[in-house]
């Protein structure tokens, strides 16, 4: 981890090394680009990305100080916080584009099913990647927003990569899916019927870079330097979408052709407090948590 105080932004001197843990997914593209373009160095940081991680290991790793920052979806962070785990969201890692119909995650059904709106999934089987995270919340909310009853829907866990096959083989009636599988599913005849991310909140933060409360307290400059650098990276990304699309195939197995076609995640500067509040409400209603966490503790101010 970073063991030295960062130099003032832009100043010369030693760079503070921070380690980031994230699976090699699309949301890393701005980070890599920022690294290439010296944006982190400008903020006195040197980042090391550790892709040897997973949902199973990232929270304990961050809390134990083995890595400084990791990505986690907001619902997971809320649940962790409410169980007393000292996690602190720093800056969004991926966000909804905020445009229903053009988001990077959607509720899809088979084109042959005759289903045209989420509420028709009442009483049917719907796949989400994990039952306790934001995907489940998004799927439920898409149905609820359409006037359906999410309680009557049977949610099962199917990893995103298997969703296109599960939909087109008719193994499930609907599925929550994100890019690049949303494109793949559509190419195989699936149609999006709901856009749960926008139903959840207007400016939804889907996942965030988070650190431990201890780290944020001991090295506030590093945390904010990291946040500033990422924000700068996002600003660059918003202007240079093509570079992002070109970057993705270099660290994932996604082909350039697919990378050029998929919907990219939105890049936002703030972890949306309003969205977080809504997610807390959903999590309470869906029985994931019993006590609401203090959002001031959860989100780095």
């Amino acid at each position: 981890g970073g063991d030295e105080e960062p130099a003032e932004a832009g100043g010369g001197g030693e760079l503070t090394t921070v380690t980031l843990a994230s699976s090699p997914l699309g949301h890393l593209a701005p980070i890599y680009i920022a690294q290439d373009r010296g944006i982190f160095a400008k903020h006195g940081l040197k980042v090391e990305v550790d892709t040897e991680t997973s949902d199973l290991t990232s929270v304990p790793s961050v809390l134990a100080g083995k890595v400084d920052f990791a990505t986690g979806d907001l619902t997971t962070l809320i649940v962790a916080r409410s169980k007393g785990l000292d996690v602190k969201a720093v800056v969004p890692a991926s966000a909804s584009t905020g445009k229903a119909g053009a988001d990077y995650g959607a509720l899809v059904v088979s084109g042959k099913s005759g289903i045209t709106s989420p509420k028709q999934l009442d009483g049917k089987t719907v796949a989400v990647n994990i039952l306790t995270n934001i995907a489940a919340a998004a799927a439920r909310e898409a149905i609820r927003a359409d006037g359906g009853d999410p309680e009557s829907v049977k949610l099962v866990e199917i990893p995103f990569p298997q969703v296109p096959a599960a939909i087109s083989e008719g193994r499930v009636d609907g599925a929550w899916v994100v890019e690049p599988f949303l494109s793949a599913a559509k190419a195989q005849g699936a149609v999006p019927v709901g856009w749960g991310f926008t139903d959840l909140a207007e400016d939804l933060t889907v996942s965030a870079w988070y650190t431990s409360g201890a780290f944020a307290k001991q090295k506030p400059q590093v945390a904010s330097a990291f946040r500033d650098a990422v924000r700068e990276a996002y600003a660059y990304a918003r202007e240079h979408e093509d570079e992002i699309r070109a970057k993705i195939p270099t660290f994932t197995e996604i082909t350039p052709e697919v990378a050029g076609r998929i919907t990219l995640t939105g890049w936002r500067d703030e972890v949306s407090r309003q969205a977080a509040e809504k997610l807390v409400g959903y999590a309470q209603r869906d029985g994931l948590i019993t006590t609401a966490p203090d959002l001031d503790e959860l989100i780095l101010s």
């Binding site: 949902d55 169980k83 099962v156 199917i158 990893p159 298997q162 599960a166 193994r171």
Partner: protein
């Protein structure tokens, strides 16, 4: 030497069997009592969670489906493993033909097979049954094959000389191989419980593995640990059941190898 009735001996046996676990649990209790690490809660908290979680409806909702999956696939693995293992052990040609092929499939981990099975058989119990069954299959199959290969030739010659019907001869060969078949079945028992839990982590809506995973993902750490305890207890109970069957079936083997203790 032979003091005490069967009751006393039973008690002594139970003491021997439960002594070490009790000591270890006590050690855990003491060592963890002051733990503040959220991932390693005190055993006291875990035990509380155990009561809360498992001594309620969850037990029936989760343990029963798990047990049924376990039983069905273990049974199927037993049948398939013994039959296929017998064929492979008995006929060198069968062994030569299938050996690389089986080696190929043995290497594939469950997470690789599940996507294929998802497409092929869907998200119902069938996929889980197949995954558990495959996990349990290999130890049974390999042990059966090797056990059959190692059957004493004088026994085979005796059966052949008396021209015993083919099926009787197969049965005798299989019976002679039972000590190693039991070794395989015992291995498979442990493995199938693990694979049951792992397979329930995906595409599931109930079961022990599912529930433990949910606890884990929602950071309900004491509850998760209580699930681990339950899995251990389940394994223990099934192992004892297994031993009961084995003791009966392999008494001759204990006698034959000179291990039959006076009773």
């Amino acid at each position: 030497m032979r003091a005490g009735g069967p009751l006393a001996r039973g008690a002594a046996g139970a003491g021997l069997a439960l002594g070490l676990p009790a000591a270890l649990l006590a050690l855990w209790w003491v060592a963890s009592a002051g733990s503040t690490n959220i991932f390693l809660p005190p055993l006291r908290v875990i035990v509380e969670a155990f009561g809360r979680v498992w001594l309620s409806g969850t037990f029936a909702d989760d343990v029963v489906p798990s047990l049924w999956r376990l039983g069905a696939s273990y049974g199927a693995a037993l049948v398939v493993g013994v039959v296929a293992g017998y064929a492979i052990g008995r006929w060198p040609v069968a062994r030569a033909l299938t050996s690389p092929l089986l080696a190929y499939f043995r290497v594939l981990p469950a997470p690789v097979m599940i996507p294929v099975l998802l497409v092929a058989v869907g998200i119902g119990d069938a996929t889980k049954l197949i995954v558990i069954g495959l996990g349990a299959l290999w130890p049974i199959l390999l042990n059966t094959a090797d056990g059959v290969r190692a059957v004493d030739e004088v026994q085979l010659e005796t059966a052949a000389a008396f021209r015993l019907p083919v099926w009787t001869r197969h049965r005798l060969t299989l019976r002679a191989a039972t000590p190693q078949i039991f070794a395989g079945a015992r291995q498979a028992l442990g493995i199938s419980i693990i694979v049951m839990v792992v397979s329930e982590m995906l595409m599931s809506t109930d079961g022990l593995g599912f529930t433990v995973t949910q606890f884990q993902r929602s950071f309900a750490i004491p509850e998760m640990w209580s699930g681990v305890l339950l899995i251990g207890a389940l394994g223990f109970a099934l192992a004892k059941l297994f031993e009961l069957v084995e003791r009966r079936a392999l008494r001759w083997h204990r006698g034959h190898t000179g291990r039959e203790e006076p009773s």
